[in-house]
């Protein structure tokens, strides 16, 4: 059972515009969410995270929004740059002993066109 879903395998955006990547989850026990960025032939690198006690977290050009009632989070990149072209994974973890257990979505490949 896939508890974290990214339903858009790819997204193409013009440089300078906003990129919006979406992620849905099914487990209401998840309380910590992360976004990772992956370039080809490299491991995923941490981008930004959000705790379930917040609905927004911002870091420079990257903002993550969390809608707990809809079990949905999104990553906004403004403005998008060609160097942002990569695969983006969202991940979630739960509370308690399993707070170090992370579930990943299948990824969205972002292409930012110059």
């Amino acid at each position: 059972d896939q508890q974290v879903k990214q339903n858009s395998p790819s997204l193409s955006v013009q440089e300078g515009r906003i990129s919006i990547l979406n992620c849905d989850y099914t487990n209401s026990m998840f309380d910590y969410f992360l976004w990772y960025k992956k370039y080809p032939a490299e491991g995923p690198t941490f981008l930004i995270s959000i705790s379930s006690i917040k609905d927004k977290n911002e870091d420079g050009r990257f903002t993550v929004f969390l809608n707990k009632s809809a079990k949905h989070l999104s990553l906004h990149i403004v403005p998008s740059q060609p160097g942002d072209s990569a695969v983006y994974f969202c991940a979630a973890s739960g509370a308690g002993y399993n707070f170090n257990k992370f579930y990943f979505g299948s990824g969205t490949k972002l292409n930012v066109k110059p």
């Binding site: 910590y32 995923p44 690198t45 170090n100 257990k101 979505g105």
Partner: protein
């Protein structure tokens, strides 16, 4: 600070052969993970260690996969015998509970396995 180190980066073997992957986590990180990533998919957990104890290995195909983390530092993941469906990237990651509340995983570059 050195990152998570994995080796080998690439491995090509014939089916039924054994293969082993090695991971050295970030110093001080007590939690270590092995993930498998198939093409076009996200990482899937194989096994998670807290220090030297395997606390979650429910997704590890135990008939052919084995892992160990001696002394709670380095870890080795072994496949014997390998099957065609084992072709994937094997990712090692680490984190530490003492790292504030961020709790992010730090990944190595991965070991890409091709089984012919």
């Amino acid at each position: 600070e050195a990152g998570v180190v994995q080796s080998p980066r690439y491995k090509i073997i014939e089916k039924k052969q054994p293969v082993a992957f090695w991971c050295n986590p970030i110093s001080g990180h007590n939690t270590l993970y092995w993930y498998r990533q198939n093409l076009g998919q996200g990482p899937e957990l194989l096994i998670r260690y807290e220090n030297e104890e395997a606390v979650d290995d429910s997704q590890l195909p135990k008939d052919r996969f084995s892992a160990e983390r001696l002394k709670g530092v380095d870890s080795t993941l072994k496949i014997q015998p390998a099957e065609l469906g084992d072709s994937a990237v094997y990712l090692c990651a680490s984190t530490t509970r003492g790292q504030g509340v961020t709790g992010e995983l730090f990944f190595g570059e991965g070991s890409r396995l091709t089984v012919l």
